[in-house]
């Protein structure tokens, strides 16, 4: 047993004549948040699909939780969960039913209790018995993530988890991801937002044109560049800070009333 949760070696994958992955190798350590950074079409989703047993590479090897992805996909599936790029909740079912269904499909005892616990943890209890179709985008994404937490998988794949979310919901997702990592879960996420990788990741790999062009901690990546120049600038609040400040004030004003 190594301390690597995910290992890939020289993964290659082409669709028709387009080579999407030309040679992808990296290691993800247990319990770390690993961000795969890249622009659209860089091959992030392809990589995640290969690791989540949905896609076979043309060549190369990979293992997750010590199991060979090609040879024992079932063992891999037992130890992972995937939150895809598009929110995969069943909109005709309630939030509670969605979680209940996943718990039963993972053959866990007490699916009702598991659903209840996760709903509480994610602040979805009030909406638990409404059809997920009526949820806001942020709530759907939270439910989607909650479905990935059922059964406490040791490796969680998140494919662009905050795409399409408002800043508030995005921060909540970030908090969830950090909590997961604190609890020992390995989190593999893809993102095209640099600040997301910067805020969350222990290690960052940059995927560009089918190859890993950098793979290091943020501090190491920063060292690759010339030492920071000290400049004095007036600190202006970012639009995001203003937005969050105003909306929170509004929310607390409502609560007081």
């Amino acid at each position: 047993m190594t301390d690597s949760a995910i290992i890939t070696r020289d993964l290659r994958k082409s669709f028709k004549k387009t080579a999407v992955l030309k040679s992808v190798s990296f290691d993800v350590r247990r319990g770390e948040i690993f961000a795969l950074l890249g622009s659209n079409g860089a091959g992030k989703t392809t990589t995640i699909k290969i690791l989540a047993t949905l896609l076979r590479p043309d060549s190369g090897a990979s293992s997750v939780s010590g199991f060979d992805v090609a040879k024992s996909p079932d063992k891999v599936r037992q130890s992972i969960s995937l939150t895809g790029q598009f929110t995969a909740v069943d909109e005709m079912l309630t939030g509670r039913e969605n979680l209940h269904m996943i718990a039963r499909l993972r053959h866990l005892d007490n699916p009702g209790g598991i659903a209840k616990g996760l709903l509480e943890r994610l602040g979805l209890t009030d909406a638990a018995d409404r059809n997920a179709g009526t949820y806001s985008g942020g709530m759907k994404r939270k439910l989607d993530l909650a479905m990935s937490l059922v059964g406490k998988p040791s490796v969680i794949f998140l494919d662009e988890p905050t795409t399409g979310l408002d800043p508030e919901a995005r921060l909540q997702v970030w908090e969830m991801v950090k909590d997961l990592a604190k609890g020992g879960t390995t989190v593999f996420l893809t993102t095209q937002h640099l600040e997301e990788a910067e805020a969350l990741a222990d290690r960052i790999a940059i995927l560009h044109e089918g190859r890993i062009v950098a793979d290091a901690t943020l501090a190491e990546l920063k060292k690759l560049f010339p030492p920071a120049k000290v400049e004095y600038v007036e600190k202006q609040p970012t639009l995001e800070e203003i937005f969050l400040h105003m909306t929170r004030k509004e929310a607390s004003r409502k609560e007081i009333q």
Binding site: L55, L82, D90, M92, L105
Partner: protein, 256 residues
């Protein structure tokens, strides 16, 4: 993939899509409504002019109406499968340790149950319109068996369409030709009056043997070979469609 979980996975999947159906009752009503309208139209508008050679025209046309209901009902299977693929729900299921065939079988069983509900509604309406049958319990069981086989056969065809369609319209468009098969059969008029080419087609396509078998069973007439031809058609279609549906499934879910 552990076989001991197949049944439990399947029942979860069945429960899931049955909820879909009961939460959108309009689909069941839509499925039952069109055949009922056809039945009213054929009995009260065309019926007087049609020489079916039997006294009770409702008895004569009910089998064909039931097949039309099934042919339109299975379009919803294609629709639901298409949505599951598109919304990434299949991807989620596939990255989980569950029996993969359970995912498809859940949809297929749902199709059986929801079509059965529609058919019961239609038979009740037919009863109000004067449908009567002297058939005993064994004949009714045989009728139910044939209808179930026909539903399975068309559902697996629907699965191919739902899994390989590129658009939501494409996913349900395939059912139109199926819907017309009963019209070019012995379902509404005897085939004897049709021009030779049409007649040859009508007498040798699956719907005619299925309709004739059900009609004979419901009226306590000798069934003859029709029932075996009907069963052979259904089983043949099931086997072929199943193979292609599983292939479409693997292509769609596992290698996009």
């Amino acid at each position: 993939m552990e076989a001991r979980y197949l049944l439990s996975d399947m029942s979860v999947m069945l429960g899931r899509s049955m909820r879909h159906i009961f939460r959108s009752m309009d689909t069941i009503i839509k499925v039952a409504l069109m055949p009922i309208l056809f039945m009213l139209l054929f009995v009260y508008v065309f019926g007087g002019a049609i020489q079916s050679g039997t006294g009770n025209y409702v008895n004569y046309l009910l089998p064909g109406i039931l097949l039309i209901a099934i042919a339109s009902g299975i379009a919803y299977t294609a629709y639901r499968l298409f949505l599951d693929v598109q919304k990434g729900i299949f991807e989620r299921f596939h990255s989980m340790p569950i029996t993969h065939s359970a995912v498809l079988w859940g949809h297929v069983l749902t199709s059986l149950v929801s079509n059965a509900i529609s058919l019961v509604v239609i038979v009740l309406v037919a009863f109000l319109m004067g449908f009567r049958s002297p058939a005993g319990i064994l004949s009714w069981l045989a009728v139910i068996g044939i209808l179930a086989l026909f539903t399975l056969a068309l559902t697996w065809i629907a699965a191919i369409a739902g899994l390989s369609a590129k658009t939501i319209d494409g996913a349900s468009a395939f059912s139109f030709p199926l819907l017309f098969l009963p019209f070019i059969s012995s379902a509404f008029v005897p085939t004897g009056t049709m021009p030779p080419a049409v007649r040859v087609f009508a007498e040798n396509q699956p719907v005619t043997s299925i309709v004739d078998a059900i009609r004979a069973l419901l009226s306590n007439q000798p069934v003859g070979n029709d029932i075996w031809i009907a069963i052979a058609w259904c089983v043949g279609i099931i086997v072929v469609a199943y193979v292609f549906a599983m292939r479409a499934y693997r292509r769609r879910v596992l290698s996009r």
